[in-house]
């Protein structure tokens, strides 16, 4: 609609005095307001545990994903999937506020401040990523209960990967939220797009033995590679990772995840400068 403004926004984006400071202050606000809403904190911590405990334990008896060297208890297989779920949903929820904030709320004031949209996006993405990282690291501490031994290397690797995934998924949430004018619409997208994106990412089941068309959907889903990278990194240093044959290699997974992240950031920035 208003392309002329979008161009001028981008063009002057390096000019304003407050730049990274603006992004930092927005990210800080995101974290502080999250911590001040106890029900959000409790929900965010309990929901993944409930998912992992009940689904993992419930399916443990009837479903053992096969690996080249044997098989894997389901709760262990499901663990990295829950980590991905935490990142996905925290990231998405962090961006929902954009919808309401914009018409009436904090964002109004941000939009008329002498701050380029790039830094506003970055602030939001940083905030969502920090929240996702905090929660997923707390959950990661439970890995030994799933039979996954944590090492310094695997924790550092997983942390880096969770940060990258957090950036990608918060950016995705931002793109979706920026165009929405109601929270209801966002919920619809969540159940039609984001939920399938999660359970078709290898988080919940491996594609070994799944129909070819389904395996293809999973292969085309960028989140699949984020989940695969997480899986592989958790076993880093071990000679053979107990993983199904369908899980892509670490190098491929990391490469695609980084590519996905770059595309998402670029898309979010572009979306925001178009207002």
């Amino acid at each position: 609609m208003s392309n002329s403004r979008a161009l001028s926004d981008v063009a002057v984006s390096v000019a304003p005095g407050s730049t990274f400071g603006a992004a930092l202050t927005l990210a800080e606000r995101e974290v502080v307001r999250f911590l001040r809403q106890p029900h959000r904190v409790i929900g965010a911590l309990l929901q993944p545990i409930i998912f992992w405990l009940f689904l993992g334990m419930g399916l443990r008896g009837s479903f053992r994903p096969e690996t080249p060297t044997g098989s894997l208890p389901y709760d262990e297989y499901f663990f990295p999937g829950v980590l991905a779920m935490i990142v996905l949903f925290t990231a998405i929820f962090a961006t929902i506020s954009v919808i309401e904030d914009r018409k009436q709320g904090f964002l109004q004031g941000v939009l008329v401040a002498p701050v380029s949209r790039v830094w506003i996006v970055l602030g939001k993405v940083l905030g969502g990523t920090i929240l996702a990282l905090m929660q997923s690291l707390l959950f990661l501490a439970l890995a030994p209960f799933a039979g996954i031994k944590l090492t310094v290397a695997s924790v550092v690797g997983a942390t880096l990967l969770l940060i990258i995934l957090g950036i990608a998924l918060t950016s995705l949430g931002f793109v979706l939220a920026w165009r929405m004018d109601s929270v209801q619409g966002f919920h619809a997208i969540m159940s039609v797009v984001l939920f399938p994106m999660w359970f078709l990412s290898g988080s919940v089941f491996p594609t070994d033995g799944a129909p070819a068309w389904l395996a293809w959907i999973v292969k085309l889903n960028p989140l699949t590679y984020g989940v695969a990278a997480l899986r592989r990194i958790l076993y880093v240093g071990q000679e053979t990772a107990p993983l199904p044959a369908s899980v892509p290699s670490l190098t491929l997974s990391i490469a695609i995840t980084i590519g996905f992240t770059i595309v998402m950031i670029a898309w979010a920035t572009k979306t925001a400068s178009r207002r």
Partner: protein, 312 residues
């Protein structure tokens, strides 16, 4: 005469899809004055507010703010204006001080700078002792004062407000206007939208906007003086018949709306006794008053201020 314009708007048009919100608006706002944009809801004043506050992009026409073109010098304009929104823009989960701190950092102020300024502006709006309370705990009036402190924190030369007294009780509204009226002496130009006639009376100049067009611009006093004489309002159960008789018997052109009949009377109060005697059998009440801005609006648009506004 040598006054500088803080805002110049030239032939601005704005549409939302097919609906025209602003249809060729041109106006000037004198520096260091209080300027009111008055109009019914849906008349276009909020759209103009959004354009001037840089929230909406300009579609057609030109806008200069503080001597800068709003399109070319967007960030420079943003740095030099303060904006107070109608709906809260403070984060309710944060304290007043935290909100102001975030605002200061968004405007690139350094820590030593903003700590002093926050204390100053909190003192000015009388919130020093509540600065560590979360905004959600403040009353509507106090929250609005905090919004004001935020809008002024980076020392803007132009403060733009959208319906600033929404949700305020009369005392808080009075306080607000007391404070706003001190700003021009400090070098700040104030531009505010309002749908309240009595607020518009506080302004040095006003523009009345209706259906996307300016219907009047000037000092409230001058605009009222245009009407000439007094406005007589008669309540009657048979208003239509009364209007007819006024025309036929007394040669007065009056306007009927529901149970009220109103007309301008240049002979003023002197004619009142005979008028009462004449209309007595048909009337419930009669009043005579100096013209208000509402009468200006009525005269210029042909309908009542609260009449046909559609929602924006």
């Amino acid at each position: 005469m040598s006054s500088v314009e803080a805002v110049t708007v030239r032939d601005v048009r704005y549409r939302y899809g097919d609906r025209i919100a602003l249809d060729g608006v041109t106006l000037d706002v004198t520096s260091q004055s209080i300027f009111g944009l008055l109009g019914p809801n849906g008349g276009g004043k909020t759209t103009l507010f959004r354009l001037l506050s840089t929230l909406s992009p300009l579609q057609e026409g030109s806008v200069q703010v503080l001597g800068r073109n709003i399109k070319d010098d967007l960030f420079e304009v943003r740095r030099r204006i303060g904006v107070v929104f109608q709906s809260p823009s403070l984060d309710p989960k944060l304290t007043v001080r935290e909100n102001l701190t975030h605002h200061a950092r968004l405007y690139g102020l350094t820590r030593s700078d903003y700590q002093k300024r926050i204390n100053e502006s909190l003192a000015i709006v009388g919130l020093s002792d509540r600065s560590n309370e979360r905004v959600e705990k403040l009353s509507g009036g106090l929250a609005r004062r905090a919004e004001l402190a935020k809008g002024l924190l980076h020392r803007p030369e132009l403060l733009i407000l959208d319906e600033p007294s929404t949700g305020l009780d009369p005392a808080a509204r009075y306080d607000l206007w007391q404070y706003l009226s001190t700003l021009p002496q400090q070098g700040v130009t104030v531009l505010t939208t309002t749908h309240l006639m009595e607020e518009a009376e506080h302004c040095q100049a006003i523009a009345i906007i209706n259906k996307g067009k300016l219907v009047a611009v000037g000092k409230p006093r001058d605009l009222r003086a245009e009407i000439g004489g007094e406005v007589v309002t008669i309540e009657s159960k048979n208003a239509v018949e009364l209007t007819r008789r006024l025309r036929e018997n007394l040669g007065i052109e009056a306007e009927t709306r529901g149970n009220t009949v109103r007309f301008e009377q240049s002979t003023g109060y002197r004619s009142l006794p005979s008028l009462i005697e004449w209309a007595e059998p048909m009337m419930e009440s009669i009043s005579i008053a100096r013209p208000t801005l509402e009468d200006v609006f009525l005269k210029r648009t042909g309908h009542r201020f609260w009449g046909e506004g559609n929602d924006e």
